[in-house]
């Protein structure tokens, strides 16, 4: 049953722009989509390996800055009289570089912290995000610091035979985000179903047993961190080219908290969990905006999260899955009760 959530979401959200003209709602859906990609990426780590990245926004922010700077160009002087000048290039190249650089970053963080796991990883990721935020704030020559990088060009896609298509409208950006979200979902689904996914699950469920079977814990977790970081980096790139202005606030801790809430409420360790959680907590600000200030909304987020987890401790999607699983034996008893009935049926 819960397997149908993702295809259902795809059909519904592919059709939305055909009838929805409200630019405010379209904007909310695009941002929700971008954060849902982040939630999927966090779920790969938190849900499937049990490792909590509380600095996940770092990968999002790095992706945004890498992509924006690739498109805008920069000119920085380094120690020893070195100078790096970049003319500015295509946003698509920025998107690719964002994925590669955040992937490498995730790999390094994984290598650094997965020798000792648990709390250590949480601390390393939090500190890393704070360090990156400070760099973005203070390396003014590169990032403009608090003045923000502005006039970031929209994403451009080269269409074979048709030249470049620059995605200027909300509808175009909406479909771009939807496309990347679908790809991200497929990557996570594929990873989780593969032997690699089984290694992750094994480690999370019973580490000693997994080790005794030859599962390499450090390598498995590092690969998960690499893919997860790259996916968050892709989301950051989409964000930069859609919003077209970024400042060090893309590294805000509250973004990480939002991602964690989306994953935990939707159901960590389930493929559709981040989609459901992402939709609820992505669109909640839209519902709450008329009634309360953004700061006060956090109280409502917290309240709703607690209410969800009180009723469904593992999150919404696993609870739904349990519900349908419990129904199934009941329907089974309808089939042959007695040998006579079975004979009559055949």
């Amino acid at each position: 049953m819960t397997r149908l959530i993702a295809p259902l979401f795809l059909v519904v959200f592919a059709l939305v722009p055909l009838w929805l003209n409200d630019p405010y709602l379209m904007n909310a859906l695009i941002i929700t989509g971008i954060f849902t990609i982040c939630a999927m990426s966090l779920n790969l780590l938190l849900g499937y390996t049990g490792q909590l990245s509380l600095g996940h926004v770092a990968f999002f922010g790095i992706g945004a800055y890498v992509s924006a700077l690739t498109a805008l160009g920069f000119d920085v002087s380094l120690p020893f009289g070195l100078r790096i000048t970049h003319e500015g290039g295509s946003p698509l190249l920025g998107f690719v570089l964002a994925i590669l650089i955040t992937g490498v970053t995730g790999y390094l963080i994984g290598r650094l912290s997965f020798r000792v796991r648990g709390a250590y990883f949480v601390i390393v990721t939090i500190s890393f995000a704070e360090v990156v935020r400070l760099v973005a704030l203070n390396w003014v020559e590169l990032t403009q610091g608090p003045l923000a990088l502005t006039s970031i060009p929209n994403m451009t896609l080269p269409l074979p035979g048709l030249g470049d298509l620059t995605l200027r409208t909300k509808m175009q950006n909406y479909y771009l985000v939807l496309g990347v979200a679908v790809l991200s979902y497929l990557v996570v689904a594929r990873l989780v179903a593969s032997r690699f996914g089984r290694a992750m699950r094994g480690l999370k469920e019973n580490e000693s047993l997994a080790l005794s079977l030859g599962v390499n814990a450090t390598r498995t977790l590092t690969i998960a961190a690499t893919v997860s970081a790259a996916m968050a980096g892709a989301a950051g790139s989409l964000y930069a080219h859609y919003i077209r202005i970024i400042d060090p606030d893309v590294f805000l801790f509250s973004y990480t908290v939002t991602m964690v809430i989306m994953v935990v409420a939707g159901g960590k360790g389930s493929l559709a969990g981040p989609l459901v959680g992402g939709l609820i907590f992505g669109l909640l600000p839209v519902a709450l905006r008329p009634v309360m200030a953004p700061e006060a909304q956090w109280i409502v987020y917290g309240g709703i999260l607690i209410a969800i987890l009180f009723v469904m401790p593992n999150g919404i999607v696993p609870a739904l899955a349990n519900l349908t699983a419990r129904r199934r034996p009941a329907s089974l008893t309808k089939t042959p009760e007695t040998p006579a009935e079975a004979g009559a049926q055949s």
């Binding site: 594929r190 032997r195 089984r198 699950r201 094994g202 019973n206 079977l213 030859g214 599962v215 690969i223």
Partner: protein, 265 residues
């Protein structure tokens, strides 16, 4: 014949507690060797040292001539030395089939691309892995349970899942820590058959078990451990009549009693 596993004067201290004082024995290729001794004698600790979960305070372990001092548990598994755990150890939330599939980790290494994309080779590999898993489940007699969650199985069945997991890595040597505890008599009997079958397929077996009839029946050789020291070594017949072994298991008074009975007879 040179040993497949050599335990060379291994000692293990936990703070002030000496779990193993001086353990020294060889396992020959193809044999079923049992390591027996009362609770707390250090048997599980010895297994943890052999499989890299603990590093010995003194001495060393060689597997096929290779010193395991710096080898991690997952690397030791890949060398072909598998183990089961004394406490029932399965992936409780996964089906029996998925359990064994996790055990088949090292079977055919896919590239990163194959991890991400369902390439034909990746799919073929996946299918072959499944077939292997099913064969192993069939061998331990759990086919009917393949799609049930391992945690929902009976205690004896879970022990079989643990055994199937260890088999999945295709070991050359298998360490079994109290494999039949929790099994009833008929389950134990069929497990003995299974162990023999695995040994006949060329897998050396080191067994820790409290079920003495089972140990006597299945072992080629037995070593007995007490307070972290080897106190006897020999064939089942020799061990059965060894005074030190009887004393270790039944206590001093019992040993005296036995001797008195022998004198009276």
């Amino acid at each position: 014949m040179s040993a497949i596993l050599s335990v060379e004067h291994v000692g293990m201290r936990f703070g002030g507690l000496t779990a193993i004082a001086d353990l020294h024995f060889d396992v020959k290729p193809g044999e079923i060797l049992s390591l027996i001794g009362p609770n707390g004698a250090g048997k599980t600790t010895a297994f943890n040292i052999m499989t890299g979960f603990l590093k010995p305070t003194t001495g060393r372990v060689l597997f096929e001539g290779r010193d395991l001092a710096k080898t991690k548990p997952n690397e030791i598994a890949r060398l072909g030395l598998a183990r089961t755990f004394q406490r029932t150890s399965v992936f409780a939330n996964d089906t029996v089939l998925d359990n064994v599939l996790i055990g088949l980790q090292r079977f055919g290494e896919p590239s990163l691309l194959e991890r991400l994309l369902p390439t034909p080779r990746a799919l073929a590999l996946e299918k072959e892995t499944r077939a292997r898993a099913e064969a192993i489940i069939d061998m331990v007699g759990l086919s009917a349970r393949a799609h049930e969650k391992a945690g929902s199985l009976s205690y004896g069945e879970q022990r079989l899942v643990g055994f199937a997991l260890a088999l999945a890595i295709e070991p050359r040597m298998l360490l079994l820590d109290e494999p039949v505890s929790g099994m009833n008599a008929s389950e134990t009997q069929s497990f003995v058959g299974l162990v023999r079958k695995v040994r006949d397929a060329g897998v050396t077996i080191l067994l820790v078990e409290h079920d003495m009839p089972m140990v006597m029946e299945v072992s080629d050789r037995i070593v007995c451990l007490n307070y972290g020291r080897l106190i006897a070594e020999g064939t089942p017949a020799e061990i059965r009549n060894d005074a030190a072994v009887i004393e270790a298991y039944l206590g001093k008074s019992a040993a005296k009693l036995d001797l008195k009975e022998a004198a009276n007879a």
